[in-house]
Amino acid sequence: MSLSMSSFTRTSQSRSAADLGQTFGPPATLVLLILVAGISFDNFLGGANLSSVAERSAFVGIIAVGMTYLIISGGIDLAVGSVAALSGVTVARFVESGIHPFAALGLSIAIGAIIGLIQGIAVVRGKLEPFIVTLAGLLSVRGLALLISDEQNIPLPNDGLAKSIGSATLLSVGGYEITVPTLIMLVTFAVGAWVLRRTSFGRSVFAIGDDERSACLLGVKVDRVKLQAYATSGALAALAGGLLAFKLTIGRPFAADAYELQAIGAVVVGGTLLTGGRGTVVGSMFGTLLLVVIQTMINRMGLNAFWQQLVSGLFLLVVVTIQTVLQRKSD
């Protein structure tokens, strides 16, 4: 028994414009922008500038990996900025009380994971909207950070291991430097992409975001996967916040302000659909870098920070419009 090909497969096997746009749009735009900036501004392509772009991307970038999982699965985590701030504060408190910096970071990451897990439980068991649950997280965790820090900045050592975790240069080639946060970001993106593509956790994330009921009927352990995704997001936010504190040599309760929005922006610019079911970690990396490059370019134009926000916002709008138009055409 063989079936005729003709009428049953709808379109050719070539990838749709939307797919191509999503995969190659962000890196192509990034390369283009860097080239334009390289021509327009002195030393933009130089080691000092690009290394700083990479390092400034690190914190939001690490957060964006967990955010990518959540958005693909149809969820969201608005609490990541607050969790990062809390983590900075707890790292500083732990180090202050004599705990080894690595252990301080590890404990803070565990706290972040637990906060993520609690949010996940509220979403999964309580069947509450992720937006509301994590909005509550955003407010209350920031409050917790203020409480623990007593609304004060807590200093961290400006030397030794603690200082190194935040800013040591690991590799330097002709002025192009890779610092610890940059390396951790790259590793997080690499492992994150690998996990999403090649593990059943990753497959399940896509399946849930695409059609949760079907995924459940197909035997995907929907609740467990969601809990894992929220815990991962919390842990990564805490990692980013801890690194930021070491870099700034200060645990600041007001740190990582609006990082959740930057991370969501980076994920969306990177081609992940807010409606879930589609996206990549690699895209989120390009999205993160794109937003930082745009900010840097505006800085170099001598415009003030308000312009950064305005232009980043408009850029996001343009990207989402293009995505939507391509999506409509291919569906």
Partner: protein, 511 residues
Amino acid sequence: MTNSNPGVTPILEIASIQKRFPGVLALDGVDMRIMPGEARSLIGQNGCGKSTLIKVIAGVHKKDAGSIRVLGQEVDVRSPSHAVDLGISTIHQEVNLIPNRSVAENLFLAREPKLGPFIRQKHVVSEASNLLMQYGLDHIDPKMPLHRLSIALRQMVAIIRAVSQDAQLVIMDEPTSSLEAAEVEQLFSISRQLLREGRSVLFVSHRLDELYEVCTTCTILRDGKLVYDGDLHPMSKNELVATMVGRDSANVDEQATGFRKRPSMGDEPLLKVDNLQSSDLESGTIQVGAGEIVGLAGLLGSGRTEFAEALFGLTKGTRGDGALEGQEALPKSPTEALAQGMALVPEDRREQGILPGQSVRDNLVAAIMPTLTKRGVVDKAEVDRIVEKFVKELGIKLSSVDQPIETLSGGNQQKVILARCLSLDPKILIADEPTRGIDVGAKFEIQSRISDLADDGMAVLLISSELEELLEGTERTVVMHERRSVAELTGDSLTENRLIDMMAGPESSTQ
């Protein structure tokens, strides 16, 4: 029964199954036995309990009493995935797979072959190719995203997934309701392959003709009770329907359709369009007179729904001559269409028709609401009067007008939508598949109601994929092919053969 060989263990044997929902006994002592290699049909009117029975077998609902044996072992089916483990898989009409992931991923989701924590990607793809080849689907690239496949092929992927999970019984729940004839044939040939492999199939369908092609045995339920259990083939279609509705087959013969033969009228067209075009429609020509039911036929994708939508002002940028009587041009938006006295019963009841979570009352008066408010305040008494009138007139079965419409059966939902259209007192009614997927009784009632409306002078445009419905209900039918109206059949030329010829394309016709 043909398959009651002693010595062979039935794949599934259920006895005295009872299931009670608040206020209803949905299943009342149902028995059923399915042997290896048996294809059994399960039929009955909507609300007879067949969906409940399937859900009990598939682990969605828990039975209240009775026993379920799988291969001789008494079991308690705890969940859908437990049913799959027991070898029972259900294929739903709205294929439960992940549309944006590849065929291979869908086949192996949640049970991927792994090396440590990592999926053996190449292995997944090659295993998927093997499975597809085994069932003659080797033209499908396993890396292709599922959503690029037609519904029919997606169902087949679901079936293959089930089989590769060692399904011994595949339950197909209305698998053909959105398939074209050729696709139905594909589904049947794969079903026959399952049967040859000694697996069993339980087939649920409203399309009785199809059952004869695959099934050998038949279970008929009525009001939650088993009313027939035996061979299918000695039963004629009329006998099946008679058993389902609990009437004499002699009566059913006349009552299989609710349409009445009516004299052709329509000297003065209420709706007249010539060469209507839109982005989805190449050319549509039709006229419908007062008191006339005109049919619109065509295969899926032939443009029949697009034509209706263009008429109703749903499509932007339509061109062509045409107007409703007394108007200068066709409506440019649904609002205008309604104002000009046109009403549409949409094709997709779930997506375009009902507001699922809203009450029957709110659904029914949704269209007429603007006229029922005084300075923004709803005239509740008038709403109640209208709702009561239509519920009675159309025989809508409900426990309360406040219940969410999604809790009604499909037939009753459709009646509410029809009532919504009628509450506007339209001159022209466009009914797109008004009886699709609803039970025989409700179908009869809706058809006879449409006849009444035409008798009262309404112009009705009836779109249907059921040839029988067009032959019985209309005196004149326009056929669409490749987004053009290609023929108008009336009188003696309105026959099943001519319809099929024209739907297949005028060039393929010998004349």
